[in-house]
């Protein structure tokens, strides 16, 4: 029906009118800053990354080797039994190609995100990270073997970004 209406009464309001103060609005930027204590398990994980290692946790009851590590096994509801180093290789469980950034702007070079099941961890456990050294995302395959590419040790800070990205283990 609206197709038949040539002219709607009133003024059209655009986003720019709000931005430029023609429409009453109130601006506020919250000052919300946090410094989360990493705690027992995540501290080990972050310290491991700084040393170029991926740390997992073990539960003797269910026998799982869990990455990322945690202080307690959420299935058995008991403290974990220890921490072990996991290999920095794994297989692609799933992936996506992100063409859009957090602010909804278009990215020139799309970000390749993937869940990587790490070798040595229990089935279906691993890491969310970025894939690199891939020219065309269509070369990505489910089950493809990948390996971590680390920042040089002097640049590592104890962060998930100490791993630059995961690259295909064999040339694609």
């Amino acid at each position: 029906m609206s197709e038949k209406i040539k002219h709607f009464p009133g003024e059209q309001v655009k986003n720019i009118d709000v931005k430029e103060g023609r429409i009453p609005a109130v601006r506020h930027r919250p000052n919300a800053k946090y410094l989360w204590s990493a705690g027992i398990a995540m501290s080990r994980f972050l310290e491991g990354l700084k040393k170029g290692k991926i740390v997992g946790a073990t539960c003797k009851k269910c026998g799982r080797i869990m990455v990322p590590p945690r202080a307690f096994c959420e299935q058995c509801f008991k403290p974990v039994d220890g921490y072990v180093n996991i290999k920095d290789t794994g297989t692609i469980n799933t992936y996506s190609v992100s063409y859009v950034a957090g602010d909804a702007s278009r990215i020139k070079e799309p970000i390749l995100v993937a869940i990587i099941d790490l070798d040595g961890a229990s089935e279906g456990m691993g890491i969310l990270h970025i894939l690199g050294e891939i020219d065309d995302w269509k070369q990505i395959k489910f089950g493809m073997k990948v390996k971590a590419v680390w920042k040089p040790s002097e640049e590592r800070t104890g962060s998930i970004k100490d791993i630059k990205y995961f690259r295909p283990l064999q040339e694609v």
Binding site: V26, H28, P30, N31, A32, K33, Y34, L35, W36, S37, A38, G39, I40, A41, M42, R70, A71, F72, E74, Q75, C76, F77
Partner: protein, 384 residues
């Protein structure tokens, strides 16, 4: 409909900082203790539903519910988060059991204000963005304005408020869960720096980290889990108008009405005679007096006088905040009401150690949601 009992309690904290653990690890510890206390139940098979009381902005994580199941043993379980005070959480757990669909419910709340670098900026974020925030200032001036009007209308005095601080910090000294126990004089409070007139520095509770988990059960299973169940006799909660411009500045109407609701359910007609002791919100010193009057534990304008006469001391006729309250235990954000519940349960069980009150049967826990809200909740608990 089944009666509802608290059959397990677990606490970790309270401390001014906890850099050694994550919030998840803190919650896991409190939950482990509560489940052990409730007859060593397993959350993986023995608990029917879980409630966590948390606020996204305090946590710094959106949709915080999703970060909760692991550390409570609630993976693949029936869980949701209540944004509000933990006694509102208790009311929800109570209702879940009353429906008959759930026999055992776990209730969790925690606060880790030391993770917040800009704690009071986040409090300011609760102020009206159009009318109040642009004026600036620390949001606790709301407490100063309320104290001023409350004292003016009731005749309670600043000295009597200072007596609350000295009493509560003293009560906190033997409480192993309290972060801010101290042996101080009324004069110390009155001489501490003015912060938001008439509030001085020592009139204000300080932030504290910690977590508490309660396990609730229907009467059918309560006795199987604990020989000494503490019964939830009544719950109530109220939201007043939040507007600073139109609210009542002298009386805590939210506490009066929430108490009315809880007392009615519990069959309490004369609270000043039927309630043996109470744990009330004392975020600011005057709040204890204001809340005592709202809970009808005394007449209007009488709370200060009773405090002065020692009636509200741990050895008085009507002990208020034997735990040390928030002035003594600390302010753990949404878990403040849970601190009140914890102490009422421990006292009614006879497990409060050297601060144990003799012959107590009925205790009241009351919470306020803090600046700048006019929301509060009340629970009436008994051991018989």
């Amino acid at each position: 409909m089944s009666d509802v009992a608290i059959v397990g309690v677990g606490c970790t904290g309270f401390k001014s900082v906890t850099p050694d653990v994550s919030y998840k690890e803190m919650m896991f510890e409190a939950a482990t203790r509560a489940y052990q206390d409730a007859g060593n139940i397993s959350p993986r098979k023995d608990i029917d539903a879980f409630i966590s009381v948390a606020e996204d902005y305090w946590e710094g994580i959106s949709i915080f519910d999703e970060f909760v199941p692991d550390q409570l043993g609630a993976v693949m379980g029936h869980l949701f988060t209540i944004c509000g005070d933990s006694i509102i959480g208790l009311s929800t757990a109570y209702m879940l059991i009353k429906t008959g669909y759930f026999d055992v419910v776990a209730l969790e709340s925690h606060g880790k204000p030391s993770d917040l670098l800009t704690l009071y900026d986040v409090v300011s974020f609760a102020m009206d963005p159009v009318l109040n925030r642009p004026l600036g200032g620390h949001p606790f001036y709301v407490g100063g304005m309320e104290m001023n009007r409350f004292l003016c209308e009731t005749g309670n005095t600043k000295e009597q408020c200072a007596m609350v601080v000295a009493k509560n910090k003293g009560n906190a000294l033997p409480n192993p869960y309290a972060a801010y126990g101290a042996d101080i004089e009324v004069e110390d409070v009155l001489c501490s720096n003015p912060y938001f007139y008439p509030l001085n520095r020592l009139d204000i509770s300080q932030p504290a980290d910690g977590g508490i988990v309660l396990v609730l059960a229907s009467s059918e299973v309560a006795h199987k889990l604990n020989d000494n169940p503490i019964w939830v006799r009544g719950v109530g909660w109220i939201c007043e108008t939040p507007s600073l411009e139109t609210r009542c500045w002298s009386e805590a109407i939210y506490a009066r009405m929430a108490a009315q609701m809880a007392y009615k359910k519990a069959g309490i007609n004369t609270p000043s005679r039927e309630v043996d002791f109470a744990e009330v919100d004392d975020m600011f010193s005057y709040k204890e007096l204001q809340h005592m009057e709202a809970l009808r534990l005394c007449g209007k304008g009488q709370a200060g006088k009773l405090t002065e006469e020692g009636v509200t001391r741990i050895d008085g006729d009507l002990p208020i905040n034997p735990s040390g309250g928030m002035l003594g235990m600390g302010w753990p954000l949404e878990a403040s009401g849970m601190q009140r519940l914890l102490e009422v349960v421990l006292q009614l069980r006879g497990e409060a150690g050297s601060r144990q009150l003799p012959d107590v049967e009925v205790g009241v826990a009351q919470s306020w949601r803090g600046v700048p809200t006019t929301t509060g909740a009340v629970a009436v608990l008994s051991n018989c």
